[in-house]
């Protein structure tokens, strides 16, 4: 990549290592030739996808010495990836050699001419798939596979175990990328130091993708056992849960679609078409999110309904699993209706207004400030 490697190819381009490539090809033919048995039907099929986040979705597999292997690599990422299978311990040497290819690298799919490379699948475009058939080495060992596209090889790799025995436990496996290994055992290992994993005092919040909401979701830790999802895209409380808060490990890996994982039990989900109607039930307002203010660290959301300013602050109930929602509508001449569904998991109490079944009618003066208490059934 750098100038050094560039200068190298600059002055030596005439003698670029073509014989090496030929040698490599004949070497791998030789290898396959010696041990190949014409018995493709019994080949073990391994399917690996290159996925977002510079990773193979399969970080290891095992095959028996001398057995037939059919490896299908599909690139499901949005950037190019290849796969090189090397002799044991040669992963970084191969990665570094690929880096040194400089200008020539792309043309040669970042497959350097080296004896350490046993088999390879060239660079695949996004969506492309290629199959590699080969005979596993007779010699038992851990044969790395790696993507040698510049920048990928440090993290994008896996291990082919050639063995008759069981593979070691994944979490102890030093031949797979650290995250992959740690994740099977304990998802929190790598995030111990992060804010989300610290024992921290509620309330606090994360704006993050959450299931069951628009992508403009906000997760609020309300108390040490109560949390809710408020949706800034639709300006409404979507659901609430008790238990743990969130596990953001997956989404924080980056470079792939993911949600924060709810670490508790959802006890309430809004089932109305919208909880506040204006003038008369059925008149759903046009919403606009305006932001929030932290009041003793609790967010007070600000949004407009048909242009009317509404402020909503949610606090935990004093006993049991309950939410106390305080609404403020400082300036309106219009009647507001608060609606709920009888089967949404909670029972309702309104501090003001005229309750009519599953509706509460709020006059402009009621609406100046009112609370809706929602207690888990």
């Amino acid at each position: 990549m750098g100038r050094k490697s560039y200068v190298l190819s600059f002055y030596r381009s005439a003698t670029f290592n073509l014989p090496g490539v030929v040698f490599l090809l004949s070497f791998s033919f030789l290898l396959t030739g010696i041990s190949a048995q014409p018995n493709r039907d019994s080949a073990k099929t391994i399917t690996i996808n290159a996925i977002g986040g510079l990773q193979y979705d399969l970080v290891r597999f095992s095959v028996k010495p001398g057995s037939e292997v059919k490896l299908i690599l599909t690139n499901k990422d949005d950037m190019k990836h290849n796969m090189l299978i090397t002799v044991p311990g040669a992963r970084m040497a191969v990665v570094n050699a690929a880096l040194q290819m400089g200008n020539m690298g792309e043309k040669k799919s970042y497959i350097p001419a080296m004896d350490e490379i046993l088999w390879s699948i060239p660079l695949l475009e996004p969506g492309e798939s290629k199959t590699l058939s080969f005979t596993a080495p007779q010699k038992e060992g851990v044969y790395p596979y790696v993507c040698t596209y510049p920048g990928h090889g440090q993290v994008m790799y896996g291990a082919m175990y050639v063995t008759r025995k069981e593979m070691p436990p994944l979490k102890d496996d030093i031949h797979v990328p650290p995250v992959a290994g740690a994740h099977k055992g304990d998802v929190h290992i790598h995030d111990n130091k992060d804010f989300a994993e610290q024992k921290r005092a509620a309330p606090y919040l994360y704006r993050i993708f959450l299931p069951g909401a628009s992508p403009a979701a906000i997760a609020v830790r309300l108390s040490d056992s109560l949390s809710y999802c408020w949706d800034a895209g639709t300006c409404r409380l979507r659901y609430a849960w008790y238990g743990g808060f969130l596990d953001n490990t997956d989404i924080w890996k980056g470079h792939h679609d993911a949600y924060g994982t709810i670490m508790g039990t959802i006890f309430y989900r809004d089932k109305t078409n919208f909880p506040i109607h204006i003038d008369h039930p059925g008149n759903i307002p046009v919403v606009q999110f305006k932001g929030y203010r932290l009041v003793n660290k609790y967010p007070e959301f600000h949004y407009t309904l048909d242009g009317i300013d509404v402020y909503e602050l949610i606090k935990p109930g004093e006993k049991g699993v309950a939410l106390i929602r305080t609404f403020r509508v400082p300036q309106t001449e219009r009647i507001l209706w608060f609606l709920f569904d009888n089967d949404d998991g909670v029972s309702y109490q309104a501090s003001k207004g005229d309750r009519q079944g599953n509706k509460v009618r709020l006059s402009p003066s009621d609406a100046k400030e009112f609370t809706i208490t929602m207690a888990k059934n």
Partner: protein
């Protein structure tokens, strides 16, 4: 002219400081630039989404997991200003207690209203654009022009991901190639640069962006955006953004006012090609940069070395920055790119850059699932003038190259020290392009000005639409110092019709 005066000044400074330093050569720094690593706070993943400086010298940092923290370089202490933001990727300071921050769902005013040093107000400045939850719909900016307009850039969605069951904004899948693997725009203004007027209206400004992870202005106020190599982007590049233009990635076209041509991915390539505006500067893949990021303009008046008024662009894929020099030819902005730093402890993954009031350049790194490092580094000019290409200009016969120091004449006039080639990149839906029609270009004549600082290369023929890559060999100063960088790539869009 201004540049010429600057030369004389810097030459004078160099001359005197050079003489002076001879007596105390022990203290003469060996490098022109030093890279220092800044320790980031315990417990916060140091993926840097945004950097800016306060006028008092404090650094404000957005971390991708949502924290906004302030670092005081004097005490080396960090304090938390805000948290919980959704993937903040841009920041602009209004004051020491108020910032505009670009996060995933919106542009937000984050403000400390009670003076306790911690933000308590998060006001939505604009969320008038769509989001689908696709991981790649990053948002960039804000940057502000002289009239007070704010610009942001919205990434297209990735074919490596999908959309969530619920999206924000009107869903229209016409902006997606169902047969291809291209990135897409299925909610309004993904793949656009947007303008937020001082009265708060968010207006579509320019279309055709795939992954514009870098937006900024040059010294003359031109709005610039970097683009990453991929589908419809043969190699990474720097665009000069002008209102109404289309910059090449098709999906975003469906949000053009009055668009009636159906799925833009199915238009003939020739039609799309004729609509698009070409890049001011191409960054050849694997030669200059693979993932360019934020452009910043050196307005330090020499505190950061001899490159005042030039641009520095982050690059995620290697431990280097890219320096960009621009000029206007036939009314069109074009120019050249040059590696800067390259190694010296500079880590990969450079996502954001900011000049400190003291003239040092701070860079923030973020791997975020791609290859790279995390953290913050500071690049400091030591005062030792680098030996470097200063800039490159197109002439009617070839190129003029200026250098920061006088070159040794015999080396400078030796044909063996130059290798010039040209190539172009194909515009197509495929991911990236090979270098097409890559050919050596013969240099017919080399001349050096008497001051030893300006080379003129005369070449056979110049072609528009090509990158001219010049590799310099063993050029050196009269004192024997060698060049810091040996490579420069000039993108020729326009030819000079006659000598100016």
């Amino acid at each position: 002219m201004r540049r010429f005066v600057f030369y004389i000044i810097s030459l004078t400074i160099y001359f005197f400081s050079g003489c002076h330093n001879k007596k105390e050569s022990v203290e003469q720094p060996t490098d022109s630039y030093i890279v220092e690593t800044i320790s980031t706070p315990e417990g916060v993943k140091a993926e840097i989404g945004a950097l800016t400086f306060l006028s008092d010298g404090r650094l404000v940092v957005c971390f991708l997991r949502g924290e906004v923290m302030i670092y005081d370089p004097r005490s080396r202490e960090w304090s938390l200003f805000a948290e919980g933001l959704h993937e903040p990727l841009g920041i602009m300071a209004i004051s020491a207690s108020e910032f505009l921050i670009m996060q995933r769902p919106e542009l937000t005013r984050v403000k400390d209203t009670d003076g306790d040093g911690v933000a308590d107000l998060f006001e939505t400045v604009t969320d008038d654009f769509g989001i689908t939850g696709n991981y790649h719909e990053f948002n960039y900016g804000p940057v502000i022009d002289k009239e007070g307009n704010i610009f942001i850039a919205l990434n297209s969605g990735s074919s490596g991901g999908d959309i969530q069951p619920e999206v924000r904004g009107r869903l229209d899948t016409t902006g997606r190639d169902n047969h291809g693997k291209e990135m897409y725009s299925v909610v309004p203004y993904r793949g656009w640069v947007m303008k937020l007027t001082p009265d708060g209206q968010l207006l579509p400004y320019a279309s055709g962006f795939r992954s514009p992870n870098g937006i900024g202005f040059d010294a003359d106020g031109h709005l610039l955006v970097t683009e990453n190599q991929g589908d419809w982007v043969g190699t990474s590049k720097l665009f000069h953004i002008q209102e109404g233009n289309f910059y090449g990635h098709p999906g975003s076209l469906i949000w053009r006012k009055g668009w009636n041509r159906g799925n833009p991915f199915y238009l003939p390539v020739e039609a799309l090609d004729s609509m698009r505006t070409r890049a001011a500067v191409l960054f050849p893949q694997n030669i200059i940069a693979n993932s360019p990021t934020q452009p910043v303009c050196d307005m330090t008046n020499g505190k950061f070395g001899p490159y005042s008024g030039q641009l520095f662009v982050g690059e995620m894929n290697s431990g280097r920055l890219v320096r960009v020099v621009l000029e206007t030819v036939n009314g069109t902005l074009q120019g050249a790119c040059i590696p800067f730093i390259d190694g010296k402890g500079l880590r990969k993954g450079i996502n954001r850059l900011a000049f400190a009031p003291d003239g040092s350049l701070w860079v923030g790194q973020a791997a975020y699932g791609w290859g790279g490092d995390n953290g913050i580094q500071r690049i400091r000019f030591t005062g030792k003038q680098p030996v470097d290409i200063y800039d490159m200009h197109l002439t009617d016969k070839g190129f003029d190259l200026s250098f920061t120091q006088a070159l040794d004449k015999s080396a400078a006039l030796s044909q063996n020290n130059y290798r010039l080639k040209h190539y172009y990149y194909e515009y197509h839906k495929k991911y990236g392009s090979e270098r097409m029609d890559e050919q050596e270009v013969l240099i017919n004549k080399i001349t050096l000005t008497p001051d030893g600082k300006k080379l003129s290369l005369t070449i056979d023929s110049l072609k528009a639409g090509y990158v001219y890559q010049l590799d310099l060999g063993d050029l050196r100063t009269i004192g024997g110092d060698t060049l810091a960088n040996h490579l420069i790539c000039y993108t020729v869009n326009q030819l000079r019709v006659e000598k100016e």
